[in-house]
Amino acid sequence: MVSHTRGGEPRQRRSPAARGKSGADAPPPAGGEQLTQYYRDMLLIRRFEERAARAYTEALIGGYCHLNLGEEAAVVGLMAALRPTDYLFTNYREHGYAIQRGIDPKRVMAELYGRADGVSKGWGGSMHMFDLTHRLLGGYGIVGGQLPLATGAALAIDYRDGDDVVMCTMGDGTAAIGAFHESLNIAALWNLPVVFVVINNHLGMGTTIEKSAAEPELYKRGAAYRMAAARVDGADPAEVRQAAAVAVESARGGQPYLLEVMTERLRGHSVVDPAKYRSAQENERLKAADPLHTFAAKLAANGILDELDVEGIEKEVASVVAEAAAFAANSPSPSVETLFDYTYASPVPNDSRRLPGQPLFEPAPLPGGASA
């Protein structure tokens, strides 16, 4: 189901020529093949994340590691609504998005391992994946940090009369931060081609949405900016894709959009969080609501997917994930020689290239030339 609120008229309506067909309706419902592909994509994310969790316990991955477990349908549906030339800004919980944007899982896993073949050459890690060719403009670790950036990217597209769209995803807890307000206001004020997507798993880390938002129906906040908004169930990739397509085409037409996707986070906030704050019964509910299973059941019921297909897909996916892990394990660490290579894009004199043990100035040589 989808609930809506209407946005105001865009102040400066773009010519369809410049912005592409504007305000288009939802695409035709997905057919069996496409639905099967969605399932395959969801399963890939599921198995990839499970493998990442294991690699973390094996100390092959470090730092913070946040997984998309339970949000597979949302990730798949959202990414399916984007053109390859559209841009994505997201947060630290972005492995699945990277894969769905078309980045080879090998390079995603290699980044988690901190290797030179990773999408960010090992400099970013789990929270900071970036790939220009697939127009993933970054996972960001500062809550809300991606919103102003996405707004600016949309401004650049608009500035050049391009017809690409920027999608910016965030969590429900992120809707409380100032950048949310400032960014949505500017995007609406300037009719920028951007879709803000709240992945509402009703939890920050352990804080529920009721404890972080005075208006917990977050899509309703669009009204504060005369921004069109909707809420959609995130358990079904086809539904998500339909709602996202409407949002994306609205943005393409010069009307930014706020889309709220209702999801569940199957595990802790990050791989190290045991989520003790959840009751056994809550965990039961989560198991039952697992979108991977409910979606599989739906496809089975509609005769689109049978036991055998599922097994086949499992095998496929398993080998993709295994290859990714193997590739990551064999990829070299970035060389320490590169430590000073990414401070500045324009070389500049007097840039510091000193290691912690090195002096600021060469010590004067000792009398008799004995070295210190």
């Binding site: 807890g173 880390m205 804080t207 660490s333 430590l339 990414y342 060469e362």
Partner: protein, 359 residues
């Protein structure tokens, strides 16, 4: 005395102060139900309830500013900012409001506020989550900034901070939470604004704060036992106000100094320490003050790069050796313990080596 972790000392002190004074309340993200990102506040929500242990929305600017406003009306809020990196979002409320309100209104309103936040690095958290920016607070008149390196100081300085009538930035460190040490039973607040000589010595003054004060003591003990080098260790404890007298008095005795910091070298905390020593102990220094700090790069995630960018014990020992060698080279004496009466110009400025060559 009991042995406990730095984390435990913080937890117990928060609890003791909440029991002592009803005006003390805790605010921050995930400090209640989640029991704190680093579990400092574990159990306190259960004991004191949601009125005094407040889980806030993710809104650093407003909940920190709200703590300032509450302090203006006489409460004594203790805010937890999950890591110091996120404090940038609250900086306007801290620097332009908390630190200004007492002076800007002619002394009419106190701001008894404590902001607890950990710095760190070495956890592979990447460029935005590995910064040490205590400088941003230590630079500001009106702020007080303390940085305990031991469980005992964590307790004594937190007591002092909570009972102080000014805004205090209380710097913790991810790498210190699990370190252990003796902590006295009694609740005796420390004096903010004073450094401590944690190891007396005569050959060189080694200065650090927070994690690096910890490293300093370890290295000093090691060099004493392995090479008979007698190092005096100073733990700054308070970054603002800065206790220059203790530092200068030490260097006037040892004639050499090495400063350790976990932040970036250029414009970092160590710059002020080195500048102050070079001024106040000008005639007593037998070698340039050496600084050991992070490499000046956005911190990479990959472990080998991160390790290379962070100051290590080996780096500290190198800096000490080179500094003692420089002392010997100027005083003529070569025993590491040598402490000449003062600078001799022998072969110094006459050695016409071009300065300013980067290593």
């Amino acid at each position: 005395m009991t042995i406990m972790t730095y984390r435990q000392a913080l937890h117990d002190t928060l609890r003791a102060e909440m029991l002592r004074d009803d005006d003390v309340l805790l605010m921050g993200e995930e400090i209640g139900v989640f029991e704190g990102s680093y579990k400092i506040t574990a159990g306190l929500l259960a004991e004191f309830g949601p009125k005094r242990v407040r889980d806030t929305p993710i809104a650093e600017e407003a909940f920190t500013g709200a703590a300032v406003g509450a302090a203006m009306l006489g409460l004594r809020p203790v805010v937890e900012i999950m890591t110091i990196n996120f404090s940038l979002l609250a900086l306007d409320q801290i620097v332009n409001h908390a630190a200004k309100i007492y002076g800007m209104f002619g002394g009419q309103s106190k701001v008894p506020l404590v902001i607890r936040t950990p710095g760190g690095g070495g956890q592979q958290l990447g460029a935005t989550h590995s910064q040490n920016i205590e400088l941003y607070y230590a630079f500001v008149p009106g702020m007080k900034v303390v940085a305990p390196s031991t469980p005992a100081d964590a307790k004594a300085l937190l007591l002092a901070a909570i009972r102080d009538d000014d805004p205090v930035l209380f710097l913790e460190n991810l790498a210190l939470y699990n370190t252990k040490g003796e902590v006295p039973e009694e609740n005796v607040p420390a004096q903010i604004g004073q450094a401590a000589i944690t190891r007396p010595g005569k050959d060189l003054t080694l200065i650090g704060y927070s994690r690096m004060a910890h490293v300093a003591t370890e290295v000093a003990e090691q060099l004493a036992s392995t090479e008979g080098i007698d190092i005096e260790v100073i733990d700054l404890r308070s970054l603002r106000p800065l206790d220059r007298d203790t530092i200068i008095a030490s260097v006037r005795k040892t004639h050499a100094a090495v400063v350790l910091e976990d932040d970036w070298l250029t414009y970092g905390i160590g710059a002020e320490i080195a500048a102050s020593i070079s001024d106040g102990a000008f005639d007593d220094l037998d070698a340039p003050v050496r600084r050991v700090a992070m490499a000046e790069v956005p911190m990479p995630y990959a472990k080998p790069l991160e390790t290379a960018a962070l100051p290590s014990r080996y780096d500290v020992i190198t800096a000490i050796r080179q500094t003692l060698a420089a002392v010997g080279h100027r005083t003529g004496k070569n025993s590491p313990g040598a402490s000449a009466p003062g600078k001799s110009s022998a072969g110094s400025s006459s050695t016409g080596v071009p300065a300013g060559v980067k290593a």
